[in-house]
């Protein structure tokens, strides 16, 4: 049954895709940050996202807190969780072969959701805060997604400013460019590791808070975001921070348009074909160079 795709539908697809992409970008930025600094592939990123989502959910369910306000709690909380994870576990594998960090974070990514399941059950929960949409002519801007998108952009923007302008941010970038040289220049790389993992976890947590406004919250919700984040950082170039950002928007757009023009089943196929193509043609990512 072929269906006539009109301009308005295309535009709606672009809007929906970009709105989804903003969130991918922010979450992937956290993953990219951790990889950039430590060469650690953090598979537990999705688990951290889930914890952020539950933080927002519980604050909303128990105290009626505005989910967007709860970002002020979920970000620092997950920053703390990240720092502890780094201090207790991850620092042991920073200089080890990449398989060690994969195994470690894989373990954590199984442990945390199962713990969450014990504590909170496997029930799907939702933060019923913003629903509905603004209609702009034929185009619907979903309220929760629009607000979420703006927050994701804002948070990612702040993270960029921090990386570009502050001394600490520069130290993080220096460490990610060349660990040894950074160390020789007097940067305490272990401290940078802590902060980078904390920031990465905080971004995941903030992502979780934002996801909870749009989708159901449950212990295994993080999984798909890990996959998407990997895709994003491959598209953008591993450790390339602006790349992660554009990769996120691009992935959202590709998914949105592919499922509109083809079928929803094919949209993931297209996304992964894109991944393979990028790996073949530009293995360093679509944006050349590293931040």
């Amino acid at each position: 049954m072929p269906i006539q795709i009109t301009g308005a539908m295309m535009l709606q697809g672009v809007v929906s895709g970009l709105l989804a992409g903003g969130l991918y970008a922010m979450v992937a930025l956290g993953l990219s940050l951790i990889f950039g600094v430590m060469r650690v592939i953090n598979i537990a990123h999705g688990a951290l996202l889930m914890l952020g989502a539950y933080t927002t959910y519980w604050l909303f369910a128990l105290y009626g807190m505005n989910p967007f306000l709860s970002l002020l709690i979920s970000f620092p909380l997950l920053f703390g969780v990240g720092v502890l994870l780094q201090r207790w576990f991850v620092h042991r594998v920073v200089n080890a072969p990449e398989l060690s960090s994969l195994l470690l974070t894989f373990g954590i990514s199984i442990f945390i959701p199962n713990l969450a399941m014990l504590a909170w059950t496997a029930d799907y929960r939702s933060v019923e805060f913003l629903t509905g949409s603004f209609l702009l002519g034929p185009i619907a801007f979903s309220k929760p997604r629009l607000v979420t998108f703006l927050f994701a952009l804002g948070i990612a923007g702040l993270a960029f400013l921090f990386l570009l302008k502050t001394k600490l941010g520069k130290a993080i970038r220096a460490t990610s460019q060349h660990r040894e040289v950074a160390q020789v220049c007097g940067i305490n790389v272990r401290r940078i590791d802590l902060i980078a993992f904390g920031l990465g976890a905080g971004l995941a947590g903030a992502g979780g808070s934002l996801v909870s406004v749009m989708f159901s919250v449950f212990p295994e919700m993080g999984q798909i975001y890990v996959f998407k984040s990997f895709l994003v950082i491959v598209l953008g170039g591993a450790g390339n921070y602006p790349g992660a950002f554009f990769g996120g928007l691009l992935l959202g757009l590709v998914e949105g348009l592919a499922s509109l023009l083809l079928t929803a089943q094919l949209s993931e196929v297209i996304a992964y074909i894109l991944l393979v193509l990028v790996l073949l043609v530009r293995p360093t990512g679509l944006l050349r160079g590293r931040a």
Binding site: M1, I3, Y124, A140, I224, Q265
Partner: protein, 402 residues
Amino acid sequence: MGPCWKVRVRELLALLTALAVVLIGQAGTVGAQAGKPILIGASISMTGTYAKLGNYTRDGYLLCAKEVNDQGGLLGRKIEFVIYDDRSDPPTAIKLYEKLITEDKVELVMGPYSSPITNAASTVSEKHRKIMVASLAATTSIWERGYKYLFMTISPAEVYMEGLIELAAERGLKTVAIINEDTLFSKAAAKGAADLARKKGMRVVLHEAYPKGTTDFSALLIKMKALNPDVIVAGSYFDDAVATTRQMKELDVNPKMFGVTVGGDVPDFGKQLGKTAEYVYGSTQWADNIPYPGAKEFVQNYKKMFNREFSYHAPAAYGACQVFAEAIRRANSLDPDKIREQLLRLKMTTAFGDYQVDARGFQIAHKMVLLQWQEGKRVTVWPPQLSDGKSIYPTPPWNQRR
């Protein structure tokens, strides 16, 4: 750090090996001793996509076991369920049934939750000549493989949306759009709905599948919005049903009727969506106001044992287990061929409704009902003889709701 680390790993390995030896030793002794309870193995989706519904299934089994034991057990022995979590993953279920049968040496098995997992798991039970009463598999094709020991207890997927299509046709609606998860059951339910709609002279303007785990339905909904069908049918499980409904509001999609196959009958559907759930139709295998014998008692006992609301999955599992128990009593043996003979012959009404199968083990007696969310409650609206309310029609557009 290096060498010290290695020692610890070695110690840990030794500890694990010791633990494994102890556990295997125990498992070996269980099957050998008579007079011990009859172990019934099952894998259930306690985590993952089907967790919510899987857990109700487990509840149903546990309640059934308790009641059977309170009444003196089966063949003079108590029954006991051995349940593992298959994480909503068919390959995992295959491994678990293999383990249940060959390592844990369970004497009987019961089905897991969902069609795709039953489809996979039944290959194991059939191979080992174990009867599998599939309490929650509704896909016809599972019974077209010629399996001997597999029995169906719920209505097939194809008729899930019969009520919705019936009502739509009565109202003279012309077009229907169908989306479904691209897994076994949802596909069959969607196809069934499409066939029924065509039979009633309606036009299927869209029929598209989405991958399991999809959370973003924008693109599908944009297409539907453009087509503006009278009826939208979602061949869904739970989380996708919730997401589709919510995103329909976000994208301002306004069909005259909107129905979901699974998920709409779960109490959490209303709890999660609040007012957004209003007017949505859901189909269900069972509702607590249908006067099946023992249904009231089931509701009370369930509340007593688990202290929460439930969906039809709990009574379905409970009913299937009761049917299985009755067949075993009549066979007076755990021999699979003797039980099979009884299951083929049995006609029974449990708290879940009617049971009767054809020669394939395919269910032919059980009835579906259609419900609609009205003021936060699930009201059964079809078929007339089993209903306690009337459907509210048409579904008002989102911008006219308060």
